[in-house]
Subunit: 124 residues, 2 copies
DNA sequence: CGTCAACATAGAGGGATGTCGAAACAAAAG
DNA sequence: CTTTTGTTTCGACATCCCTCTATGTTGACG
């Protein structure tokens, strides 16, 4: 059920040097931009929030997500697919329903990327 | 020099309840999505990184940013404008040159938004 | 005032993205 | 097997976005 994903955030410890640590090279920027781009849509951000609100190990059925929006079901499915391809969430089918959850540690690693400072004393 | 900005992140303490705290409503999601969308481009992410690497209070001249990309000068200016409208950076003209810096606390608040957990014991 | 350099803005073109309806797929139920 | 329900995929279309060239604005310097 989880086919093509990005493994930008979930590599070792802090993925990249950190946004403020040193200028990103093109490849790092391209990979990270995909994650931020996935969060750069109001619908996807609300979907992420609804799923993440379940806490660690929590799951949400698509049938609970869809009625929260005034959008067609294929559209919601499309946004969930993008979030999954960005490496933010994963899903599993159990019987008739499909459940989504936030990949553990992803949000923390993203936050760490944003806040990691430069090695101190490197104003250039 | 700083006209139209978003004040999503820089409100009080943690702007919104937090991504995992409770499902975002439409307005919150729309505002936050603009910030993530601004970071959802490789060029803008590199620009942010180059500026943020200067540390707290650090500045970068546009004349240093432009030659780092194989893009036209108006394109870089356009991306800087989007980052400024997202409330991530600000700029000031001094003589012939224009200097950009990261608005203080923005990255930390964004990170806090990503990691803030729900009130505990709220699996629904 | 005239000129030059740094940067911003305006407008256009081509590709990416969000949305939909229709159809395909999967699993359960009758 | 047929039907029903939940979900994804497909194809199309409108819109947005990244990039460019051309032009405007601002300040420094003779």
């Amino acid at each position: 059920m989880s086919k093509q994903k990005l493994e930008v955030i979930g590599q070792d410890a802090a993925c990249c040097p950190g946004l403020s640590a040193a200028p990103l090279d093109e490849d790092q920027a391209a990979d990270l931009a995909k994650v931020f781009k996935a969060l750069g849509d109001p619908v996807r951000l609300r979907l992420m929030s609804m799923i993440a609100s379940r806490g660690e190990g929590g799951e949400v059925c698509v049938c609970e997500l869809t009625p929260a929006f005034e959008l067609s079901q294929p559209t919601i499915s499309h946004h969930l697919k993008l979030l999954r391809q960005a490496g933010l969430i994963d899903c599993e089918r159990r019987g008739t329903w499909v459940y989504y959850w936030v990949l553990p540690g992803v949000l923390g690693k993203l936050a760490a990327f944003l806040t990691t400072q430069q090695p101190a004393g490197a104003t250039a």
